[in-house]
């Protein structure tokens, strides 16, 4: 339920970028959400649309790229996607592997027109 606060942070960041580019109109903002980030993409989209609807930012759209959890095996170097929390290396069987992605919550791009 903190997705509303997260959506608001995205809008504030987008607004701040737009202010630096007078005359440009915001069209779309892209974010990256990891599956370990604790942020639910659907709830985030819903919150974002609710905040934008009827505001001066309309029709700003949100594009969410979801990122799976990936681990790296220190033994054989294999990088693999984790499914069902199975973190052992699928190649060499090493039990201890290192998480290298999956908790992202990042702004990736802004699309503007009239720049």
């Amino acid at each position: 339920m903190h997705e509303l606060a997260i959506a608001n942070s995205i809008l504030e960041a987008a607004r701040a970028e737009a202010v630096r580019r007078p005359g440009a109109r915001l069209l779309r903002v892209g974010v990256r959400v990891g599956e370990l980030s604790g942020v639910e993409p659907e709830a985030l989209s819903f919150s974002f649309e609710a905040l934008v609807s009827g505001s001066d930012l309309e029709p700003l759209a949100l594009e969410i790229e979801t990122c799976p959890r990936r681990q790296c095996c220190p033994e054989c170097g294999r990088v693999f996607r984790v499914v069902d929390y199975e973190v052992a290396c699928p190649d060499c069987g090493a039990a201890e592997t290192r998480c290298i992605s999956g908790d992202e919550l990042e702004m990736v791009y802004l699309e503007l027109e009239g720049l």
Binding site: I6, A13, L27, S37, Y85, E106, E111
Partner: protein, 232 residues
Amino acid sequence: MNRIPLEKKVLSENERIAAELRARFEEHGVFCLNFLSSPGAGKTTLLERTLEGFAREERVAVLTGDIQTDNDARRLARFGFPVKQITTGGACHLDARMVERALAAWSVDKLDLLLIENVGNLVCPASYDLGEAAKVVLLSVAEGDDKPLKYPAVFFRSDLLILNKIDLLPHVPFNIAAARENARRVHQDIEILEVSALSGAGLEDWRRWLEARRRAARRAPAPVPAAPIVTG
């Protein structure tokens, strides 16, 4: 139409304030912990037992977050240490600015230990860095042993898992071994303690963990000077 790449965190404003808080804590040697759990897992009781164990001269303070009421602050103030309630008025988590504001009236340099009790919620508080040295998550055995798999973010980001209310184990279908395994599937390096804040079981382990981490933090910030190169 133009696309501008923006590689920055969504919560960069929160992270900026959290980084300032962390720098202040390190500068003044304050060890800060952020306690997270679902409502009713025993954060306040664990903090009561923790404060109870400290000598009067211990320089410890507590910030406690709730959506409404100052009940927790009143419970915690009985031990004579500074306590401040942060009432979020609806927000489901604490953020770094709330902590910054709550600390404004205190002299951080007069503290050695700051304990922050987050709003009871196993999801949202995990996204907000408060400048702490570590997050501690509590899971009570009255909840399910699969909670780490259902709510991975908070377990992924916590250094320590406290399995609380172990005095209830004979009465609930909670499988401690399964809970440990589930937590480690989410976060391989998470440390785990079994505690009953009510009966006192396991509290010594918790105090040892806390003291060991405080000692390590005191040693860590001072950079080790490079050894002089002796030639000839």
